[in-house]
Amino acid sequence: MEKSKVLTGEFFMNGDEALAEGAISAGCRFFAGYPITPATEIAERMAERMPEVGGTYIQMEDELGSMNAVLGASWGGVKAMTATSGPGFSLMMENLGLGIMLETPCVLANIQRAGPSTGLPTAVGQGDMMQARYGSHGCYSIIAISPNSPQEMYDLAIKTFNLSEKYRTPVLIMADAVVGHMSEKVVIPSPHKIVLFPRRKPTVPKDKYLPYQPDADLVPPMANAGEGYRFHVTGLTHDERGYPQDSAEAQDRLVRRLVAKIEQNKDDIVMLEEDGLDNAAVVVCAYGISARVSRYAIEKARAEGIKVGMLRLVTVWPFPDKRIGEIAPNIKAFIVPELNAGQIVLEVERCAHGKAETVLLPHMGGGVHRPEVILNAIRRAAK
């Protein structure tokens, strides 16, 4: 009765469903969540599919529980994820921090809606981008990916699971309500074409294993519970043994590594989509649904003879400082359309170092930018 674990073929499905299938193709076998619009379809798909692929679906009592169940499952050796939207994302911040501190591979998808608070539950927003970066307390770095189509929801779900195992950290999928709810063609490849990054297992004898002794790339191999390593892990600042250490020195050593394992490996992590950057006078820098909306404006502007390029942030965090810095001296302006009052634009401005103008096109959410707004901004900037 068991259906194929990877549903190879061509489908017409929405972004949420595609994300769930991508996760399953990546080997995800545990989903814990709490219903919330517009992410509910991910939970519904997982409730149906997990039993078919030998996995577990559990609907928790809230998003605090969901995030923790995911962490527990990951330590049990199973690839695990949860999915939510704004209000639930806020609740998950607490234990996103625990996941970062314990260095627990897992995936958290946020299908963003317009906030603050309950906001517009069924309508799009991109207001959680800075929360994704800084929302949990303390100092850390994070990986966040922003798909802009159902196909990418599938493809990048696999990518996020691979990144989470490679860097032993929770990875965020920062999608939005439009990408989550739109239906398009999704091509699911045959299983042998899917490349997976396996968990980094310890290579030392069990009694010599230290859960936080990193490899050269700053990532420690990970034993799972029940394998006989008998390790201890704690959300307290800890040493290589995983034992609490109450000192500024231990804090410095640990947190520097947690940050560096992501920041130093940026070249491997960051994915960008670039189009027409050579000789561009203006560059639209966008992510998620806003990048798709920008496409139309860019085509119109090019038809008018304006040299406009596109820099799409597929990876939003860690931020591609270097690439923005390279582009800035050669252009007049970056146009940054966002469904918020200005979040990622602050990063673009920082990395442009004053070498190019930075133009924010804010939209408070509930809908997307009218392409004319972006087109007019391109025209003005190109003058």
Partner: protein, 279 residues
């Protein structure tokens, strides 16, 4: 009787992280006694230590995970139960025990407790109840008896506390028991039973906190609190959980209150799969 027990003979050496001793608990605190009972129960049960995982939240009792030499997780405040839920469901062959305190499990983690009991997740919860928040300096909490004085109830507590066994039983726990840290032998036996019980088992252990709670409530030493347990504990196996609430200085009803059978979360899922013809 002059023989000193040498380390290799210490019965729980195999499951104690001795390099982490001394522990952080105050003189007179009962948490170490509860831990010792637990480790003895583990050893006597013959559980494979490689297949046992302990999950703690935050607080004095929450430090226990760090002293137990099995796969052990010191998580966030209140979240030990959902973490353990994920761990158990992902790796069913593990025996998963939550060792934490009353503030962690009953206040901030209360929602997780009631739902894990309702689902009948196959885990064991050991709730060390010292009637206050010890780690932060002795504030009142959801188990503090009415009129008890703490740093945040200087006029005496005015909130009705939870009757903890009643809460667990009402929410669906299949095994509920309570002892004090004076009752080391029965506590150890109860823990062995709870470890072997299929489904959500819950053991409350009343423990002294002379440093903070006792000092403010006319029991300034650990010995005073233990004398109180000795004089006022009443063993009533099978007592109705609704009748076992604790008043300040009043009697403490101890024993095994609930031991029933009910399908677990996993069993019901397997049944559903069979019905659907998927297994």
């Amino acid at each position: 009787m002059s023989e000193v027990m040498t380390r290799p003979d210490y019965p729980v050496s195999d499951c104690l992280r001795e390099e982490r001793m001394p522990h952080i608990w105050c003189p007179g605190c009962g948490t170490g006694t509860v831990l010792n009972c637990f480790l003895n129960a583990v050893v006597k049960s013959g559980i494979d230590l490689d297949k046992l995982a302990v999950v703690s939240g935050i607080g004095c009792a929450g430090r226990a995970a760090g002293y137990i030499k099995v796969d052990s997780f010191h998580t966030t405040h209140g979240r030990a139960i959902p973490f353990a839920t994920g761990l158990k469901l992902a790796k069913p062959e593990l025996k998963v025990v939550i060792f934490s305190g009353d503030g962690d499990l009953i206040a901030i983690g209360g929602n997780h407790l009631i739902h894990a009991a309702r689902r009948n997740i196959d885990i064991t919860v050991i709730c060390v109840n010292n009637f206050n928040y010890g780690m932060t300096g002795g504030q009142m909490g959801p188990t503090t008896p009415l009129t008890a004085r703490t740093s945040t109830s200087p006029l005496g507590n005015t909130e009705q506390p939870f009757n903890v066994p009643h809460l667990a039983a009402t929410c669906g726990a299949v095994y509920v028991a309570r002892w004090t840290s004076l009752h080391v032998r029965p506590l150890e036996r109860t823990m062995m039973e709870a470890l072997n019980k299929k489904g959500f088992s819950f053991v409350e252990v009343i423990t002294p906190c002379p440093t903070l709670y006792g000092r403010n409530n006319k029991q300034p030493s650990g010995l005073d609190q233990m004398r109180y347990y000795k004089e006022m504990s009443v063993i009533q196996n099978g007592a109705d959980p609704k009748d076992v609430g604790i008043d300040l200085g009043g009697k403490i009803i101890v024993g095994k209150f609930v031991d029933i059978e009910r399908p677990t979360f996993t069993e019901l899922q397997e049944e559903a799969l069979k019905r659907a013809g998927k297994q």
